[in-house]
């Protein structure tokens, strides 16, 4: 079996969010970057588990500049066998999806994994685009994935519940909480990651049909109104008369 795991790099969850003075780009000065949690905790770990059970190869793929190689090495330390970096700034979902699809087209992966969304731009767009470029089925928000021969049984989160579906290989899947348990790379994994292959591939040109106009930070909250804990009638009155939410 051949599994592709698309990993992206995002600011650490505790990072302060700031933008360049023209408001056109994220300002990552002094920010620690991490592997997008859904990619790392669920997509990558499940792919490694399947490889351990069935044999095969796990390829970790990142569209990004050379600075992302620390994150890519972490994917190798967690268990990917080899890595590919497509050498470009991932400027949009459309661009990123195009790159992933171009690379994957020639490789015949059995399953292409992604995280359900990135925690920075919250698009949840790339998986569906990759699947369409490759004309493959796509299951999003999968919280469970098992293989029965060449058929996968996947549970996907839907509003207020779960739907179990059946799909034949190959397909694209986005991973949500529940698909696997987070793995902390051990010393051996970290050592081995240094010698695993990391291939750099040039990007292909792609249209940019969506452009950033500006980013803004929310206005600061007016400040909390404290209510006497003995007097919940007062809180109800405020929610009804002032906030108008009751």
């Amino acid at each position: 079996m051949k599994f592709l795991v698309c990993i992206s790099q995002t600011p650490d969850t505790t990072a302060r969010v700031a933008f360049t003075p023209d408001g056109k780009a994220y300002d990552g000065t002094g920010v620690t970057f991490i592997m997008n949690p859904y990619d790392e905790w669920y997509a990558l770990v499940r792919a490694c588990e399947l490889r351990e059970a069935l044999g095969g190869t796990v390829v970790a793929l990142n569209v990004g500049p050379a600075a992302n190689e620390t994150t890519i090495r972490k994917a190798l330390a967690i268990g990917a066998d080899e890595a590919v970096r497509i050498d470009a700034e991932p400027t949009s979902s459309a661009f990123t999806a195009r790159q992933i699809a171009e690379y994957a087209r020639a490789e015949n992966f059995d399953i292409i994994f992604l995280g359900k969304e990135t925690i920075d731009y919250n698009g949840a767009e790339v998986g569906a685009m990759v699947a369409e470029y490759l004309e493959l089925p796509y299951i999003a928000f999968a919280s469970k994935l098992d293989l029965e021969g060449t058929t996968a049984v996947v549970e996907r989160d839907i509003e207020g519940g779960v739907e179990a579906v059946e799909v034949a290989l190959p397909f694209v899947v986005s991973a949500a909480k529940g698909m696997a348990e987070q793995r902390i790379p051990n010393m051996r994994g970290i050592m081995m990651a240094r010698t695993k292959p990391l291939k750099v591939v040039p990007a292909v040109p792609a249209d940019e049909p969506v452009q950033v106009v500006k980013f803004t930070l929310p206005p600061p909250k007016a400040g909390v109104k404290l209510v006497n804990p003995e007097d919940m009638d007062e809180l109800v009155r405020l929610l009804h008369e002032e906030a108008k939410v009751l």
């Binding site: 505790t14 519940g161 969506v210 804990p229 919940m232 906030a243 009751l246």
Partner: protein, 322 residues
């Protein structure tokens, strides 16, 4: 033409569909165009009722193969309908279905996609459509210009209210070919009773301050009197005190209800990320230094085991008097 995909999970229109049609109608007015809604598969009731929310045409591809989601088939049919009606904008809901399909539709139509849109910022003279969405898990807002001739967007839940701004119309059946399905639904398990979190207008959420899963009765009771949906912080879901689908935050579900009541939750940055788009936030915490108070509109410093039953009582009294 603005084309809205009015989704009907398991044959029923939900709030998300009505919101999307109202949003589509308002955008169509702004563009000087009309708004059509498209329905996939069989639905309960008359789809022409979508006219009430602003659709001047309702199109139905009533093929039973579309009663369950296969994103490939959905995208192919939606793109074909968009071509047939000459759509310049295609709108979906930012739901599990919409997120699965929107990217595919965009690729098929060679269109720019912005997902999770909360509002339209402007329509530019060069034809670009500028939309707003929340990014960095609610920590910032972005404005994006979609510059392709055809534009696709998905609308964030609770971003606008459905409005009765039209009349029911006669639904038209569209004969569109449906490809062979590649995804087969085996089983659906839904949680009955409460409104799903992304759609909920009131959310009652509790954290580690609850001490033990057996204490959740007071949270459920408060949620019951409010008609609210329950949620929880990540450690609560991780320790299996509550089901995974209740986990809100940066690595859980992002929500934007009208009222969010946080009980015994400290307000870590990752938690706030998923909830700070709520219209009104109430925090109940015994620690006056809890970071959540900085993000709250109303705060109660006190022991939740006393405050929550008292609040439930006060709401009961208020509802009875109404």
């Amino acid at each position: 033409m603005v084309l809205v995909y009015a989704e009907s999970p398991r044959g029923q229109f939900k709030k998300a569909a009505f919101e999307a049609v109202t949003f589509g109608k308002k955008l169509a007015d702004q563009l000087g165009q009309s708004c059509a809604a498209v329905v996939l598969g069989n639905v309960q009731g008359d789809p022409g009722e979508l006219g009430r929310y602003g659709a001047s045409r309702v199109l139905q591809v009533a093929n039973e193969q579309l009663n369950t989601l296969d994103s490939q088939a959905y995208a192919q049919v939606l793109a074909e309908v968009a071509r047939q009606v000459g759509a310049t904008v295609v709108i979906l809901s930012h739901t599990s279905t919409g997120k699965t399909v929107a990217g595919r539709v965009a690729v098929r139509l060679n269109a720019g996609l912005v997902s999770g849109v909360s509002s339209v910022a402007s329509v530019e003279s060069n034809g670009a459509l500028v939309v707003r969405k929340s990014v960095f898990s609610g920590k910032a807002t972005a404005e994006y210009a979609i510059v392709s001739p055809v534009k696709v967007l998905s609308l964030m839940g609770n971003a606008i209210r459905p409005e009765a701004i039209g009349q029911p119309v006669a639904a038209e059946v569209l004969p569109v070919a449906v490809p062979a399905l590649r995804v087969r639904v085996r089983e659906v398990r839904t949680v009955e009773g409460r409104v799903p979190l992304p759609e909920a207008e009131i959310v009652v959420s509790a954290g580690r301050g609850m001490k033990d899963p057996s204490n959740w009765g007071i949270v459920e009771e408060l949620a019951d009197v409010l008609g609210a949906t329950t949620a929880c912080s990540r450690p609560v879901a991780d320790s299996h005190w509550r089901p995974h689908h209740e986990h809100v935050g940066q690595t859980g579900i992002a929500i934007r209800p009208n009222l969010y009541i946080a009980i015994g939750i400290s307000g870590a940055i990752q938690h706030l990320a998923g909830v700070n788009n709520s219209k009104v936030i109430v925090v109940i915490n015994k620690d006056p230094e809890a970071p959540f108070f900085k993000a709250a509109d109303y705060g109660v410093v006190g022991d939740l085991f006393e405050v929550v039953p008292r609040l439930t009582q006060a709401i009961r009294k208020f509802k009875a008097a109404q």
